[in-house]
């Protein structure tokens, strides 16, 4: 701050208000070298989709990593030109440094919660997980190859999923078959399939992002990284009757096949009108006692919603091996011919 010859400090002005002497600014100029610290606002929820263009999502930050016509980098898109005949290894070689740089610039991991929606059969999925730094409060919602997928898809998916798990990220896996058959009713647009159905499912999950992250992180502490899910979207009493029926019905269409004893945790989130909370809570108790009595943990969360129709999403924790086992044959078949296409080749 400038001061007069008598040592009085003053914020601005030419004369000292205390003694009338002239203020000297010479020694104060160094203050202007210091720039104020900023706390950038990265928002609460960030969603980055990989190999999944056209998702319609509502979050503080939504970005896409995808293959397009040409290399293009913006704050919401990392688009790379397709490589003729190229697989994940080629994209890794060409774009790994660039994607790491982009991720740092867009502040990946700096939102309160982050979700990666990844088609793990897409070659960019391996690139994305290779570039990803170790992150907290970040979960992966992954479409994964299954027994109906090609060996190349299984190899890509296996490598991507292994990298995600290796980085300690919790994963909610949806098999390619489950994703292909997804069909949900939406109040405004009718039936949704494909990317629209994924968007509709994510809409519910993201609206309860802090609950979802909390449940996944609790499972992580139990050593459970891999999950699958089942959901009823836009359900109603006239279709399912009591809440217990809805819980039971949705458990017949789980996003990855596993034996009932392989599910280690079970958590449900109901999105409904407040008056239904008690009924859903009771329904959940009956459901877990009937089907998942041996689960290590089971929690129910309720989210108030305005609609007459309700959403019900259940997340099942399971061993990581279950998801990987379904594609290990294709993975190994490819690695047998091309050893560099192994998990180690990507790390």
């Amino acid at each position: 701050m400038p001061r007069c010859a008598n040592g009085h400090e003053q914020r601005l002005g030419l004369k000292c208000l205390a003694c009338g002497a002239e203020l000297s600014y010479t020694d104060s100029m160094e203050e202007l070298r210091t720039l104020p610290k900023v706390e950038p606002d990265y928002g609460n929820i960030a969603v980055i989709s990989v190999g999944y263009p056209r998702l319609s999502l509502s979050a503080d930050y939504v970005a896409e990593i995808s293959i397009g016509q040409a290399d293009l980098t913006t704050s919401t898109a990392f688009e790379v030109a397709s490589i003729r005949g190229g697989g994940w290894h080629d994209f890794n070689k060409k774009y790994l440094h660039e994607l790491r740089r982009w991720m740092a610039l867009v502040g990946i991991g700096k939102s309160t919660d982050g979700f990666l929606v990844v088609n793990t059969t897409d070659p960019l999925s391996v690139l994305a997980f290779s570039a990803l730094p170790k992150l907290e409060h970040t979960a992966v919602i992954a479409v994964v190859a299954d027994q109906d997928s090609t060996p190349v898809e299984q190899n890509t998916s296996y490598v991507a999923l292994s990298l995600a798990l290796g980085k300690g990220l919790p994963v909610i896996a949806l098999s390619e078959t489950f994703e292909g058959e997804m069909l949900y009713f939406t109040e405004d647009k009718g039936f949704a399939t494909g990317a629209d159905a994924i968007s509709r499912l994510l809409e519910s999950l993201l609206s309860a992002a802090d609950d979802v992250m909390d449940l996944l992180e609790r499972d992580l502490r139990l050593g459970i990284k891999m999950h699958c899910l089942s959901a009823i979207l836009a359900g109603s009493k006239s279709v399912y009757g009591i809440a217990t029926n809805a819980f039971m019905a949705q458990s017949f269409n789980i996003s990855m096949g596993a034996k009932p004893e392989e599910y280690q945790t079970v958590h449900s989130i109901a999105f409904s009108r407040r008056e239904s909370e008690g009924e859903f809570e009771k329904g959940f108790d009956v459901f877990r006692n009937r089907k998942f009595k041996g689960a290590l943990n089971a929690e129910f969360r309720f989210r108030e919603a305005a609609s007459q129709l309700y959403d019900l999403v259940t997340i099942y924790g399971m061993s990581s091996d279950v998801a990987l086992q379904s594609m290990v044959s294709g993975y190994q078949a490819i690695v047998g011919n091309m050893p560099e296409l192994s998990v180690e080749g990507a790390s």
Binding site: L12, S28, E31, L105
Partner: protein, 266 residues
């Protein structure tokens, strides 16, 4: 220099000073009596000789528009300028006229030195303004802003935001150093009043930048300080683009006046 033989001095904005002369020589012709008229800007002089019986009627012998860097020589009461030798009533009067005639040179030198010093102050303030603009953008749209300035991020082991701070810190240090050494180097010529005013101006504009960055609503203190520095402006005006550049432009005339007034006569 240009000269014309007749007519009135055509500089109505500057009043004239009239000096009685003892004698004058112009183009080898001696004029034993007459007056020398000089405008207060020191840019025009006129030699008049007395005519008529009453010796009160003046006829213009020569009129000059003087270039700012014209040589003015004084030797006792004798003054030489632009081919004209004039003996005035005393050495003091000759000195006063010489001082008047040197005014354009002093002013032009002062304008040059002030402009040079201002350019260093502006350089520093503009770097600072750019840095604060980038930080403002980073605060609300960190992703887009950091992508735009990604060339500043050259080492992967640092955070992009830290790289931005580091880059601007270096640029600010360099431009501040240039500014302070420029002002120090010119202080003996410009005078400490002018350099102190330039420091006050730089600091006050810096305070305006800080207030705009923090989103201070009324900027009352800053506006009052600018007013004290002779810059009348409004809060809305300060919020327009490039306030530092505009404020420096507005400060310029006042600084020139200060520099001219404080510049020692030669």
């Amino acid at each position: 220099m240009s000269a014309s033989p007749a007519g009135e001095v055509a500089s109505p904005e500057w009043p004239l000073r009239t000096y009685k002369l003892v004698s004058a020589t112009y183009q080898d012709k001696v004029y034993p009596e007459g007056v020398l008229r000089v405008n207060e800007a020191g840019s025009e002089i006129e030699l008049r000789k007395w005519t008529g019986k009453d010796r009160r009627t003046g006829a213009v012998v020569a009129r000059f528009n003087l270039e700012p860097n014209v040589d003015v020589l004084v030797d006792g009461p004798l003054l030489r300028v632009a081919g004209l030798s004039i003996t005035l009533e005393s050495p003091g009067v000759a000195g006063e006229v010489a001082d008047l005639l040197r005014r354009p040179t002093r002013e032009s030198e002062a304008v040059r030195l002030v402009s040079e010093a201002e350019s260093f102050v502006s350089g520093f303030l503009e770097v600072r303004e750019e840095a604060l603009n980038v930080l403002s953008r980073i605060r609300v749209d960190p992703r887009g802003a950091l992508l735009d300035v990604q060339s500043m991020w050259t080492t992967d082991d640092t955070e992009p935001l830290d790289a931005v701070y580091s880059k601007y810190s270096t640029l600010l240090a360099e431009s501040l150093e240039k500014m302070t050494s420029s002002l120090a180097g010119r202080e003996s010529v410009l005078g400490s009043g002018v350099t102190n005013r330039l420091y006050a101006l730089a600091y006050t504009i810096g305070a305006v930048q800080n207030a705009l960055f923090e989103g201070d609503s009324d900027l009352a203190q800053e506006l009052a300080a600018l007013q004290e520095l002779g810059i009348a402006t409004t809060a809305q005006d300060l919020r327009l683009v490039k306030p530092a550049e505009r404020l420096m432009l507005r400060a310029h005339p006042g600084l020139v006046v200060l520099a001219t007034a404080s510049s020692p006569a030669k």
